[in-house]
């Protein structure tokens, strides 16, 4: 493999000898490196394990980080070995011609096979882990192809507005809250929309990310599996307070969630009555400054 860079005049050993040495060092360091990445670094990799989607993302990052180790180590080792073994030594002519470069069908064949396997393998892996976990926390548009198996899904509408997120709960009388609490061990459907420009609902700890477009319902799924605090950030530049457009949410026990939700429902009863009917999208009136939002069907300006 190494003979197209090998200057025979400078080498006392055969090509095979070099390659064997490199491969041995490579195998040993790679096994150690891979074990370290998988077992020591792996459990701490983002985005954690708060939902099935987050855990899935963590698994992907963990696996790819581990697989990258031997590739990286081979490049480093070959580079280091070449510098040590085949560098020009004092007294040698730096311009002396090296050995002729000639094709090496074994090296070329190995290159094709290894890189093709890697790329196709990653493509298959990526496709499988996008389809199987219902879109892997990514938004799937308004009619998702990949849905979770269960029919028991908590609906959470995420409404983005310059420059805050609010949340609407169709299964709790259509109330709207400024805080986000989620029950543990529950499949959640995020219905993400916007009242003005494009925002992005990025609940990193939940492994969920979905663009918030006006007049559009963008759906993403995640199943909670661990209580804790997570942050929601806007991830589309949306104006002066884009950087401040974040809030914290919590995954709490199902009992705590029920208490929170029914308290909110009571506290907000008078407000809920004033809200427009729950709808998957809300079309703002473009009649001027301000502008209430309307369900598309009742927007007096929808045809303007």
């Amino acid at each position: 493999m190494a003979n197209f860079v090998l200057d025979e005049s400078r080498s006392e050993e055969s090509t095979k000898g070099h390659l064997t040495k490199i491969l041995v060092i490579w195998a040993i360091t790679s096994v150690i490196g891979m074990a370290l990445v998988w077992f020591v670094l792996g459990p701490h990799l983002p985005p954690g394990t708060m939902t099935d989607q987050a855990q899935g993302a963590q698994f992907d990052i963990r696996l790819v980080s581990t697989l990258v180790v031997p590739v990286l180590f081979f490049v480093w080792l070959f580079f280091g070995y070449s510098i040590m073994k085949w560098r020009v030594r004092p007294g040698e002519d730096p311009l002396a011609p090296g050995a002729n470069i000639s094709g090496n069908s074994k090296a070329q064949g190995a290159w094709y096979i290894i890189t093709t396997t890697l790329v196709l393998g990653l493509a298959a892996f990526g496709t499988y882990f996008l389809v199987v976990p219902a879109g892997a926390g990514g938004a799937e548009g308004s009619s998702p192809i990949w849905r979770p198996a269960t029919k028991n899904i908590l609906q959470v509408q995420v409404i983005a507005q310059q420059w805050r997120f609010t949340y609407r709960w169709p299964q709790f009388g259509g109330m709207e809250t400024t805080s986000l609490e989620l029950p543990n061990n529950t499949e959640i459907q995020f219905n993400v929309t916007s009242l003005d420009v494009i925002h992005d609902f990025w609940a990193y700890g939940l492994g969920v990310k979905a663009d918030a477009n006006p007049d559009y319902n963008n759906i993403a799924y995640a199943k909670t599996q661990q209580t804790g605090k997570f942050v929601v950030r806007c991830d589309e530049l949306c104006g002066i307070w884009h950087g401040a457009m974040y809030n914290y949410g919590h995954v709490v026990s199902q009992a705590q969630f029920q208490t929170w939700a029914s308290n909110m429902e009571t506290q907000n009863a008078a407000l809920t009555k004033l809200l427009p009917k729950y709808s998957l999208t809300y079309t703002p009136s473009y009649s001027g400054a301000g502008g209430g939002y309307y369900n598309t069907a009742t927007d007096p300006n929808a045809n303007l």
Binding site: E176, L195, I240, S285, G290, G291
Partner: protein, 225 residues
């Protein structure tokens, strides 16, 4: 090009660049609104903050934009949204709202949150929700919203057909207005951004440009020190 010409060109470009920088810095300094401190009261731990919201500020580089004036201890009004407040104190806010209202884009902001008792007095009447419907009332003109302190106070608008409607700030109490009072606690040191949730930047995309994106108009900071 001769050596002299090249040196000349270099010097001219350098001077132009320097001029640009000075211009930008001066422009920035000139456009930064002043910070006004809340007025201490006779009660320890309590400060007073008097503000007005105008449909058109009437002064500065954008006289037609909506914006705020804050009153200092001497009673003078300053067109700004930068307010200095003491830590761990109660702020008694008096807000004179001179602008007309409309429906809220998101009706959730009709509810008063984060103030003492979750209420505000609108023309002397304690309210937890301010009627956002512009068909049955004047609608909401603006909201005073401080996300970091969980505060949201919607401001009931004045009728746009009021005879003595204030067309340019600073407005005075003889003109049509809503008087809104409320109290809130400041907590620890911090710089808390505040904004309006009525997209009131008339003529800008979705009403969210211009005054909505400029400090001194509909965006500001509470500097708690």
């Amino acid at each position: 090009m001769s050596k002299g010409a090249r040196a000349g060109a270099l010097l001219v470009s350098f001077a132009a660049l320097l001029g640009l920088i000075v211009f930008a810095v001066a422009g920035y300094l000139r456009s930064t609104p002043p910070t006004v401190s809340a007025t201490p009261s006779s009660t320890p731990g309590v400060v007073n903050l008097v503000m007005q919201t105008d449909g058109a500020v009437g002064v500065g580089p954008h006289p037609s934009w909506v914006g705020y004036f804050i009153q200092d201890a001497n009673g003078a009004w300053h067109q700004t949204t930068l307010i200095q407040l003491p830590t761990h104190s109660t702020v008694h806010v008096t807000l004179y709202e001179y602008d007309s209202g409309g429906n809220l884009r998101n009706t959730v902001w009709s509810k008063i949150q984060g103030t003492v008792g979750n209420i505000a007095y609108v023309n002397g009447v304690a309210e937890n929700i301010v009627n956002p419907n512009s068909n049955t009332g004047n609608g909401i003109a603006h909201t005073f919203n401080v996300p970091g302190l969980g505060i949201n106070v919607p401001m009931y608008g004045v009728s746009s057909t009021a005879k003595n409607f204030c067309n340019a700030g600073p407005c005075n109490l003889s003109e049509a207005h809503t008087t809104i009072t409320f109290q809130f606690h400041t907590g620890g040191v911090g710089s808390y951004r505040w904004q309006c949730f009525v997209p009131c930047g008339l003529g800008y995309v979705d009403g969210n440009g211009g005054p909505m994106q400029n400090i001194g108009y509909m965006a500001g900071f509470l500097k708690v020190v």
